[in-house]
């Protein structure tokens, strides 16, 4: 039978191919190659040398069984097991046939048909098995391909992920950078705000300077005048002593004593004005102290008046005060509240001055301030009969930098700072009531806490 040799060839070549032994198992490949070429020799010999046919057949059997044995026992051949099973029936049937032919030839001849049938079935079995395994292998390959595909996709997503991560890191760095820039800008803004508030303070101080100068000049004049007249009085007193008119001496002494008191009084007045001015310009004294609102309002009303009049000396206004004498001292930031009052008074004088320019001499400017104890706080009302506030801008006047004054005359910060001081720093309220060309009333409420 030539099937054996062909089968050997098939098995050898299949094994070498399936196992990729040339690359993966070079040692085993060597034997397989030798087996392959030997099988070719056997096949050729089987054709031409008839007498060696029997021996060749047995060699082929031995080779096949050895191969099958190795394939089934060695772990290197695990993957080709199914192929071995597919050829096993053919090999066994062929072997049995040859054995029987050798032992009992007549019996073999007699049952030859059956043997042929068995061989036929074993061949059928081989092909069946072969196709099944091939199909299985193909499916497996498909699965593998799929797995590879998945692996690829996974790798791609990994790459994408890594990319995204670097992008996120970049963006984060960018955002952090921007945050830092914004923080810097914010810090700058805050410093600018502090500077602006300071410059507003200085601006109002400038407005005040003339008023303060006037306020200091007055008591100084008295100090000078009273000391001069006292000196003269002393001369007269000496004359009277010489004359012996001690009644007159006594009178002069009384006057002198009064004059000294006046000098002292006006000296103190100048002193308190200077102190008030220093307080006004000082930065951030954030301690609330018991304050006499009546005194504060009166002081700043006069300062504002003289300050305003320093700019236009022909300006005169009626100053009306209506102070509640039972007003308790309340804890406030004294200079800050002073600043608010100064601002409101200055605005009031400005409003009346503007109206005076329009209305002429018949118009009498009037600015009034009233204090009142109301519920759980103190109410301060500042009223003027000036130009009033147009309805359209009422909502805007508390906004920073909003001003109706010509450029250079107002910072536009006065009322916005006043709002901050009253509402934010003291928990109070500030409200506006006004009619255009008639009046304006600012009402401040400060809780007594």
């Amino acid at each position: 039978m030539n099937f054996d040799y062909i089968l050997l060839l098939i098995v050898f070549s299949y094994l070498r191919r399936a196992l990729q032994s040339k690359i993966l198992l070079p040692k085993i490949d060597k034997y397989l190659a030798i087996g392959f070429w030997f099988s070719i020799v056997l096949l050729i010999a089987g054709f031409f040398l008839k007498f060696t046919k029997e021996i060749n057949a047995w060699i082929a059997h031995a080779m096949l069984f050895t191969l099958i044995y190795f394939c089934l026992t060695q772990k290197e051949f695990k993957s080709v097991k199914s192929f071995i099973y597919s050829i096993l029936p053919f090999v066994v049937v062929n072997f049995i046939e040859d054995c029987i032919e050798l032992i009992n030839s007549p019996f073999h001849d007699e049952w030859n048909n059956y043997f042929d049938t068995a061989i036929f079935f074993s061949i059928v079995w081989f092909f069946a098995m072969f196709f099944i395994t091939r199909k299985q292998r193909k499916e497996m390959e498909k699965e593998q391909l799929k797995a590879i595909e998945f692996e690829k996709e996974f790798q791609q997503s990994e790459i994408l992920k890594a990319k995204l991560e670097t992008q996120v890191a970049e963006r984060t760095a960018e955002i952090l950078g921007q945050k830092e820039k914004l923080q810097k800008a914010l810090d700058k803004l805050k410093t600018t705000q502090v500077q602006l508030i300071q410059s507003e303070k200085m601006a109002s101080l400038g407005e005040l300077t003339a008023g303060i100068a006037h306020e200091i000049q007055n008591p100084l004049n008295f100090v000078n005048n009273f000391s001069e007249v006292s000196s003269e009085l002393l001369d007269e007193m000496n004359e009277e002593i010489v004359k012996g008119d001690f009644e007159e001496v006594k009178n002069i002494a009384i006057d002198l004593k009064k004059n000294l008191e006046k000098i002292n009084f006006h000296g103190k007045r100048a002193d308190s004005i200077v102190k008030g001015m220093l307080q006004h310009s000082r930065i951030g004294n954030n301690v609330k102290e018991p304050t006499n609102i009546n005194k504060l309002a009166d002081e700043y009303l006069r300062l504002a008046y003289h300050g305003f009049r320093a700019k236009d000396k022909s300006f005169n206004a009626d100053l009306v005060t209506d102070f509640d004498e039972n007003l308790p001292k309340i804890n406030v930031l004294t200079q800050e509240i002073g600043r608010v009052l100064l601002n409101l008074f200055t605005n009031a004088f400005y409003a009346t001055h503007q109206k005076q320019k329009k209305s002429g001499e018949t118009y009498k400017p009037m600015v009034s301030v009233k204090t009142e104890l109301k519920g759980k706080g103190i109410e301060i009302t500042v009223k003027d009969n000036g130009i009033g506030i147009p309805e359209a801008i009422k909502d805007k006047i508390m906004q920073p930098f909003f001003t109706t004054k010509p450029t250079g005359e107002g910072t536009g910060l006065g009322l916005s700072l006043s709002y901050d001081i009253i509402v934010k720093a003291h928990g109070g309220t500030i409200t506006i009531d006004s009619r255009e060309n008639d009046y304006t009333v600012f009402t401040i409420f400060l809780p007594t806490e």
Binding site: H214, Q217, N218, L220, N221, F222, N224, N225, F226, E228, V229, E232, L233, E236, D255, K258, N259, K262, H266, Y305, R309, A310, K313, S314, N316, A317, D318, L319
Partner: protein
């Protein structure tokens, strides 16, 4: 000679009384005081004939010295009182206004009482 002094600062009064102590004792001068322009006008209603000289501060709350001056020149000019204006702001504008409205003289604070005395004596001698 009766002199009306108009100034919102009350302490100006003892100064006048003391500086002109001798003159007062000799009845050369007689002083009356008003604390505002309005008060001065009220005073003049009853005493306009006696008052020879008016000394007025310019910067006062309510009616200013300039207003008072205008009123005097308007209502009492037939008596031709001497009006001297006093101001703490010795500036051109005040001076110009005072002179335009008919002031006879213009003085600045702090008052030089010796100078004032001379001026008052001159007025008295001329009158």
């Amino acid at each position: 000679m009766k002199i009306l002094v108009v100034d919102d600062e009350a302490d100006i009064q003892p100064l006048f009384l003391q500086h002109f102590r001798k003159e007062l004792r000799h009845h050369d001068f007689e002083f009356d005081f008003a604390l505002s322009g309005e008060e001065a006008l009220e005073y003049l209603k009853g005493n306009s004939l006696e008052v020879v000289l008016i000394l007025s501060d310019i910067n006062m709350p309510g009616m200013s010295g300039i207003d008072l001056l205008s009123k005097i020149r308007q209502d009492y000019n037939y008596l031709s009182p001497v009006v001297m204006m006093i101001t703490a702001y010795g500036d051109e504008e005040n001076y110009k206004q005072a002179m335009e409205k008919g002031a006879d003289d213009f003085l600045t604070k702090p008052l030089d009482f010796n100078l004032l005395k001379e001026k008052l004596k001159k007025v008295m001698n001329n009158g």
